[in-house]
Symmetry: C2
Subunit: 522 residues, 2 copies
C-alpha cells in the first residue's frame, strides 16, 4: 500500500515538474503591483517557481505568497517616495484651473519624478553584478513585467527570456505602439484626451495629431530608460524596440468598459482580474450599513494613494453628505470638522469590494482608478467619479458615456455639485439599470480573467514563447508597413498608364485629322 502511495506521489511530482515553469517577475509599484499580485501568487500556488525582484524601498511591493522575493538596493527610502507622491498630489489639489495645459504640466512633473525613480532602480539592479548573475543562473522560462517600470523589459532582454507584459493605459500607449496594433485615429481615442470613440471633427484632428506624436511621446517618456538600456546592453536600442519583442501582452481591459477597437493576436484581455470574490463584512460594518435602512449607503474612496483632502475641499464633501439620507463610508485620514455629520463613518482603510458587493450599496464615489472601477462594475454600483490624475480622466469618460456614472471636477467641486450628482445616480433608476446590464456583460465570460492570465503565462513558459502570435509587421520598416513605397509605385503606374493613353488618343486624333485634311485637299 505504501509502495502504491509512493508511486502516486512520485507521479504527481513528475507531473508537477513537467507542467511547472520558472518565472521571473519584475513588477511596478503602487496600484500596478495590486493588479499583478493575484496572478503572481496564483502562478506560485500552482507550483511554478516564481521569483519576484523588487527594490528595497517601495510603496506597496513586498513578499507575496507562494513566491520567492529578491530585493536590490536603491538610494532612496519609502518616506522619500511618499514625499514625492504627496508633492504631486498637493499640486493637483492646489490647482485653480482644470485646463489641459495645467494638466499637462502636472503630467510632465510627475513623469520626471517617475523617470528619476526608474534610473535609480535600473542602476540598483542592472549594475548589481551578483544579483544579475544569480538571475542568469536561475535560467527562467519567461519574465512577467510591467512596461510602466522599464527595468523589467531591460532585464528580460539581457537574460533573453520570453517576455510577458502586463499593461493598463500606458501614458504613451507603448502597448499598442510596440505590438504594431492598428489604432485607427478616427474612432480610437488616444490616452489622456478624454475623448470617446465618437469624436467631432476637431476631436478627430487632435486625436490624429496625438497619434502622429505617439512615437515622440514614447521617446520622451523613455528617454532615460533608452539611454540606460543602450549602455547596459552595449548596443543602440530603445524601450519600444525591446518591447516590440514581447511574446504576450496581458491587457487589463474589458470591452464592458473599454471602447471596441482592433487587437493583436498576442494581446489577452484580463480586465477585472483583481476584482476578487467579496467576503462578509465585519460585525460593526454590517451594523452600520444595515442601519441605513432602505436608503442604503455610499462608498467613498480616492484610491490607495489619497486618504486626505485639503480642509476646504473636505468640508464640501461633509456638507453634501449631511444633506443625503444615505449613510457614507469614507476612507479619510484628514482633518475632521467638529460638526461632522453623523451619517458619515470615516475609516483609515475600508474593504471596498466587500462593501460594494453589499445589496444596500447605492453609489460609489471614486477617483476612477481601474481597480475600483472594475469592482464597481462587477458589483453593479453606479458611480460619482472625481478623476485626479493619470488615466483616470479617460476611465471616467468611458463610464459617463455609458450612462452609469456622473463626473465631477476636483478643482471646482462644491457641496451642491456633489449633492446633485449623488442624487442623480441614486434616484434616477436608469443609472442602476444600465450598470446592472453592463455588470452582467462584464461577468459573463467563458474563462475568468485570472485563469486566462495564468493559462497564457504558463503557455509562454511551456512553449518557450508564443511566436505564432507575432505578426510579420515587426519585420517591416515604417515605409513598408504603411505601404508608402507600394502606393508610390501604383500611383506611378497609374500616371504612366494615363499618360500613355492620352498620348495614344492624341496620336490617333492627329492621324485622323491629318487623313481628313488630306482627303479635303484631294
Amino acid at each position: 500500500m505504501a509502495g502504491v502511495r509512493c508511486f502516486i506521489l512520485l507521479y504527481l511530482l513528475c507531473l508537477g515538474s513537467v507542467q511547472a515553469g520558472k518565472l521571473l517577475v519584475i513588477p511596478a509599484d503602487g496600484s500596478h503591483w495590486t493588479g499583478m499580485k493575484p496572478l503572481v501568487e496564483e502562478l506560485g500556488r500552482r507550483g511554478n517557481q516564481v521569483v519576484v525582484v523588487i527594490p528595497e524601498a517601495s510603496l506597496s511591493m513586498g513578499p507575496s505568497e507562494h513566491t520567492t522575493t529578491l530585493k536590490y538596493p536603491v538610494p532612496y527610502t519609502k518616506a522619500q517616495i511618499q514625499e514625492g507622491l504627496s508633492g504631486g498630489l498637493d499640486k493637483v489639489f492646489s490647482m485653480d484651473t482644470s485646463s489641459d495645459l495645467a494638466k499637462l504640466q502636472i503630467f510632465f512633473i510627475s513623469m520626471d519624478v517617475l523617470k528619476d525613480f526608474t534610473v535609480k532602480n535600473a542602476e540598483g539592479l542592472l549594475f548589481h553584478k551578483d544579483l544579475m548573475a544569480k538571475l542568469k543562473d536561475l535560467d527562467f522560462d519567461a519574465i512577467l513585467t510591467d512596461p510602466f517600470e522599464p527595468l523589467g523589459a531591460i532585464v528580460g532582454e539581457f537574460l533573453q527570456v520570453p517576455a510577458i507584459y502586463m499593461q493598463v493605459n500606458h501614458p504613451c500607449g507603448v502597448d499598442f505602439l510596440a505590438s504594431q496594433c492598428p489604432s485607427p485615429p478616427s474612432y480610437t481615442p488616444q490616452r489622456f484626451t478624454r475623448f470617446t470613440d465618437r469624436m467631432s471633427f476637431w476631436e478627430r484632428s487632435v486625436n490624429m495629431a496625438r497619434t502622429l506624436l505617439q512615437p515622440t511621446a514614447c521617446k520622451l517618456l523613455f528617454s532615460r530608460a533608452d539611454e540606460i538600456a543602450s549602455r547596459f546592453l552595449q548596443r543602440e536600442t530603445s524601450m519600444v524596440e525591446i518591447m516590440s519583442r514581447a511574446e504576450l501582452w496581458l491587457v487589463r481591459a474589458d470591452f464592458a468598459f473599454e471602447f471596441p477597437r482592433p487587437l493583436m493576436p498576442n494581446m489577452v484581455l484580463i480586465g477585472g482580474m483583481s476584482a476578487h470574490k467579496p467576503k462578509p463584512l465585519t460585525q460593526d460594518l454590517e451594523e452600520f450599513v444595515n442601519g441605513s435602512g432602505d436608503h442604503g449607503f455610499v462608498v467613498f474612496t480616492l484610491g490607495s494613494m489619497v486618504s486626505e483632502l485639503p480642509e476646504a475641499k473636505a468640508r464640501e464633501f461633509f456638507e453634501a453628505f449631511r444633506q443625503i439620507p444615505q449613510r457614507v463610508l469614507w476612507r479619510y485620514t484628514g482633518v475632521v470638522p467638529k460638526d461632522a455629520p453623523k451619517n458619515v463613518k470615516l475609516m483609515k482603510w475600508l474593504p471596498q469590494n466587500d462593501l460594494l458587493a453589499h445589496p444596500k450599496a447605492k453609489a460609489f464615489i471614486t477617483h476612477g482608478g481601474t481597480h475600483g472601477l472594475y469592482e464597481g462594475l462587477c458589483n453593479g454600483v453606479p458611480m460619482v467619479m472625481i478623476p485626479l490624475f493619470g488615466d483616470q480622466g479617460d476611465n471616467v469618460q468611458r463610464m459617463v458615456v455609458r450612462g452609469v456614472a456622473e463626473s465631477l471636477n476636483i478643482f471646482d467641486i462644491t457641496s451642491e455639485k456633489l449633492l446633485g450628482a449623488l442624487r442623480k445616480v441614486i434616484n434616477d433608476k436608469s443609472y442602476k439599470e444600465k450598470m446592472m446590464k453592463l455588470s452582467a456583460i462584464h461577468k459573463d465570460r467563458p474563462v475568468e480573467p485570472l485563469d486566462l492570465a495564468v493559462f497564457w503565462t504558463e503557455f509562454v513558459m511551456r512553449h518557450k514563447g508564443a511566436q505564432h502570435l507575432r505578426p510579420a509587421a515587426h519585420d517591416l520598416n515604417w515605409v513598408q508597413y504603411h505601404s508608402l513605397d507600394v502606393i508610390g509605385f501604383l500611383f506611378l503606374v497609374l500616371v504612366t498608364f494615363i499618360c500613355v493613353m492620352l498620348k495614344t488618343c492624341q496620336f490617333c486624333f492627329r492621324r485622323c485629322c491629318r487623313s481628313s485634311n488630306k482627303k479635303k485637299k484631294e
Copy 2:
C-alpha cells in the same frame, strides 16, 4: 417527498427556460455544413430551441440531432447540384495550365454557378409567405448563419434578430470588410493570392491592388444577392451593409495555421472546432494499418466532393504508391488499373480523423480543405498537399511555409513528383518535428473551440446581442474612417503655418534691410 421532487423539477425547468434560447440556423451546403453542424447539435443538446432551415434538395444538409429542421422548396434536385459540381471539377482536372488567369476563369465560373443557387434558394424561402410568417412567429433570440449563403443574412435582417456569422476564408473576405477589421496590406495577404505574410515588393503591390479592389469584388460576388435583398427588404441595401450589423463573427481559424493579423473584438476564433475525438478503427482497418509494420501508412483523400480522378492522373498515384514501403488508404471510387499495387486499400469513404490519429500514420495526402487540415494538424501528421480550388491554395501555402507540408500541382502531377514529396515528408524528420510542435500549440488552449462557439452564441442569445463589441467605425463614412478630411485639414494648417512663417521672416528681413539701407544713406 413527491412535492420536493416536483419542486426540484420545476426549478430545473425554470432554470432551463431562463438559460435556453431560441436560435434560427440557416447554413450553407457542403463542407460549410460539416463545419457548422457540431455547434448546432451541441446548442440543441444543451436545451436551446434550434430551428435549422434548409432547402429541400442539398448536397449534405439534412436533419441534425437535438434540432428541428424546416425545409423550403427549391426548383432543383440534388442530382442537378452534383452535376454542376462535377462540371466544375472536370474543368479543374482538364486544365492544362496552372496559370492565375485559368484559375480566375474557373473561380468566376464556379461563382456564377453558386450565385445561381443563391437566387433559387432566396426565392424559395424569402417569398414563401407561410414559412416566413412561421419564422417571425417563433420570435428567435438570434440567427446563426454562413455568409457564403447570403440568404441567412437577409432573413436575419428581415426578422431583426441579432446575427452571428460563422465564416472561413470567404471568397471576397466579407468578414474582414463588413466588420471593419484593419487588414494592413503590407503583411496581411489577401485571400486567393497564395502569398504569405512575408511578401516581396511585387507581391505587396499586387496585395495592395487586391485590397483596394476588395469592395468591388464583394459587389460582384453579391450582385444578385444585393438585388434580391433590396427587393425583399424594400429598400436599397447590400450584403456588406447587412453583414456590417453582425453581432459576432465565429471565424474558423487558428494562429497555429493562420498568419497573425489584427482582429476585431466581435471576432471569435474557433479553428479546429470540428476536429472531434478519434474513435477506434474497425477490426479490418486496424489489421490493415498494423500490417504496415514500422513503415506505417499514408492517408489519402481529396475532400468530401472528390472521390474520382481522371484515369491518367490516377495512374500516376498508383505508380507512386507502388514504390513506397508504406501502406496507403485512399478514398477513391474511380477506375482501378488491373495491376493496382497491393499496398493500396481503396475505400468509398474512410474515417479520416480516426486514421490520422493512429500512431502509425506517417503522411496525409490532402487537397487542403480546412476540415482535413485541422484534423492533420490536431494529430500531428505531415502532409502532401494538392490544392484543387477555392481557399485550398492559400491553406496549402500556410502549411508549406511552416515546414510541415509539401505542395504539388494537380495539373502537372507525376508519380516521380508525388514520390519525391512523400519520401521527403516521411523520411525527413524535420517535417514531423515541426508538425508535432504546431500540433501542441494548436491543442494548447484555455477553452475548446466548440465550447467557445457555444458560449458566444448563447451569450448573444442571453444579452440580445453583443453591441459592446461593435466598434464606432461603423458610424463613419469612408473619408472619415480613413481620416482623409482630418489629414487634409492638418495639411492645410501646416501649409498655412509655413506660409505665415515665411511671410513673417520675409517681412522682418525686409525691415532689417530697409533700416540698414537708411543707416547707410544717413
